[in-house]
């Protein structure tokens, strides 16, 4: 498969801050690539570079073989972009906004009318399309933004957190449309998200980014397998004393428990151990022996969140929740 998107050693500094610190990636044509990371990890900066809005400080990027700095006009014709902050002129109606956007892509006449109609239907906005955008809900704005990115049938689609802050119904609709787009037009989709489920559901491949660097990359399945263990979450009383950690480490030292990472959580510990279901009993017995009372215990196959945890030492789900709750007051930044 030919390469649709390529980044080579991308670096971007904003003054003293190095938002992107040497990112290289390749996305094949027809692929859905999920770019996963917490707020401020550098996702949006990379999207802005690859969509020609921002020049990299160093390194290079290309879309379908065209350099994003030197051949920016060509790149702009090939890509469709829905940015994180759905910037839409509230004074226009949905139809006016789409028609204007279509004209700037060089569409005219019947093709323009047809495309506006088609994308409006695709995102389910037919009833609202002649209303002013100022009356749209957040979900409707996102859908209109997505529609505007599709007008010229782009071959590569960049969607920057297309579902952040959306209600579950709108989110499911957008996921559904992304799958359709790929089938219908064979579009390549570069999707950034802070939602694990989104990456897991949609992406053929996932790149995990943290602090401006890609820390893991692969298919969701391969990444999870890479963790190489099941995930045991165990809550303990008196978490602060650290006695449970000592007990677990002692069990590992004595060979009672196999080797595997132990990470603290808010209520207890997460253990990455092979053969998880069988190990639960051993863990509980060992802790009991040490006089530690245990709370709820669960064992699961690793999720992308566990992949993220193993790679960065932080939970993405907690960061995403925190960011989501701050969404309303978040200020726009370039990073």
């Amino acid at each position: 498969m030919p390469i649709a998107i390529e980044a080579t050693d991308l670096v971007r500094r904003f003054g003293e801050v190095e938002a992107v610190r040497g990112v290289s990636l390749k996305v094949e044509e027809g692929e859905i690539y999920g770019f996963l990371g917490p707020n401020g990890a550098g996702k949006s900066t990379i999207v802005r570079i690859l969509t020609t809005l921002l020049e990299p400080t160093a390194g290079s990027g290309s879309v379908l073989g065209h350099d994003v700095v030197r051949e920016r006009t060509t790149v702009r014709r090939l890509i469709g972009v829905a940015l994180q902050e759905a910037g839409l002129d509230p004074k226009q109606t949905g139809r006016e906004l789409l028609s204007l956007q279509a004209r700037l892509y060089g569409l005219r006449g019947r093709v323009l009318t047809q495309q506006v109609h088609e994308v409006t239907e695709l995102v389910g906005l037919t009833d609202a399309i002649d209303r002013r955008i100022q009356g749209y809900s957040g979900g409707m704005k996102r859908r209109l933004d997505l529609a505007s990115a599709l007008l010229h049938r782009p071959r590569v689609l960049f969607l920057d957190e297309p579902t952040t802050g959306l209600d579950p119904t709108s989110r499911t609709l957008i996921w559904d449309r992304m799958r359709q787009l790929r089938v219908r037009y064979g579009a390549t989709i570069f999707l950034t998200t802070q939602y694990l489920e989104e990456a897991d559901q949609l992406a053929d491949r996932v790149g995990i980014i943290d602090l401006g660097r890609i820390v893991r990359e692969g298919t969701p399945e391969a990444l999870k397998a890479e963790v190489g263990a099941d995930v045991i979450d165990i809550a303990v009383d008196d978490r602060e004393s650290g006695a449970a950690r000592v007990a677990i480490l002692e069990m590992q030292a004595s060979g009672e428990l196999p080797d595997g990472e132990v990470r603290g959580t808010a209520t207890g510990y997460t253990l990455f151990l092979p053969d998880g279901p069988r190990m639960i009993a051993t863990v509980v017995r060992g802790l009991d022996r040490a006089g530690i009372t245990t709370g709820p215990i669960s064992v699961s196959r690793p999720s992308l969140d566990d992949v993220f945890l193993a790679a960065t030492g932080g939970r993405l789900s907690t960061a995403a929740q925190r960011d989501a709750s701050m969404d309303g007051e978040r200020v726009r930044s370039n990073a």
Binding site: R76, L83, G87, D89
Partner: protein
């Protein structure tokens, strides 16, 4: 991976610079018409000053300043004042702040068309304000020197140049800073220039520092040229006015180009 049925092709094609400019101008005009809260004060405030000045000084103007038709003397002040009230930079800075500028910038649009469209939208607004104010003047009996239509068109043309030059200031600041507040207050810096003019009385009657300030203010010459269409068309006065408005536009358009370059670099 899903196999694609055919080689996917994008429908995007070069739109052409003029098409880009006309699309952006259309959008700017739509935006203006849908924001009466911005164009109503832009029109009513100059009208208010016009009526008040006329009421206060109209009756004594002949005796005090030797001006028999004070309404004709004041009409160009109102027209130029309205033209300076344009809001092009405000619309643009909102686009930058809310991300719509980015949305437009990821299309293959000629970037300069985004700015030129905004300025042309302002031209339409200035023409709208001027025509309404000139019509009001005509109703209360203000007449042009020489052929009526030619005089009106002359005043209109000069006003459009002046208005677009003024709009370019706020557009330049919008582009350079991306700050809504900075763009709105930018107006204040240039506002005094509108008052350091022979707005109330002719220059010959002025004295002291005010006379000097008025003489160095380029807007003085624009106003005197605008007035000449109503009193006596004078080639020298017109030439000075055109030169002043030309220099003014060159300065503000230059600033706009600098702001535009800076914006393009910021991404």
């Amino acid at each position: 991976m899903t196999a694609t049925t055919a080689e996917p092709r994008t429908l995007a094609a070069p739109a052409g610079f003029l098409s880009d400019v006309s699309a952006m101008t259309g959008r700017a005009v739509r935006g203006l018409l849908r924001e009466p809260e911005s164009f109503i004060p832009a029109l009513t405030i100059p009208l208010f000053f016009f009526v008040v000045q006329l009421g206060a000084l109209g009756a004594v103007a002949e005796r005090a300043f030797g001006i028999s038709d004070y309404a004709a003397f004041q009409l160009p002040v109102a027209v130029l004042f309205a033209a300076a009230n344009t809001s092009g930079g405000n619309a643009l800075v909102l686009d930058i702040a809310n991300g719509y500028w980015d949305k437009l910038s990821v299309t293959p649009v000629h970037r300069s068309a985004l700015v030129i469209g905004t300025l042309l939208g302002e031209v339409v607004a200035v023409i709208g304000y001027s025509v309404l104010l000139i019509a009001f003047g005509w109703v209360i009996g203000v007449r042009f020197a020489g052929p009526e239509v030619l005089g009106a068109l002359g005043l209109l043309g000069l006003t459009v140049l002046f208005g677009v030059g003024f709009a370019a200031i706020s557009v330049a600041i919008a582009l350079a800073t991306g700050s809504v507040r900075a763009t709105q207050t930018a107006f204040v810096i240039f506002f005094p220039l509108l008052f350091l003019t022979p707005g109330t009385l002719p220059r010959e009657l002025m004295t002291g520092w005010f006379k000097v300030a008025v003489a160095v203010n380029p807007i003085t010459y624009v106003l005197e040229a605008a007035r000449s269409f109503l009193f006596r068309i004078d080639a020298v006065v017109l030439a000075k006015g055109l030169l002043a408005v030309g220099l003014f536009c060159a300065l503000t358009f230059g600033l706009t180009v600098l702001g535009f370059r800076r914006r393009a670099k910021l991404g």
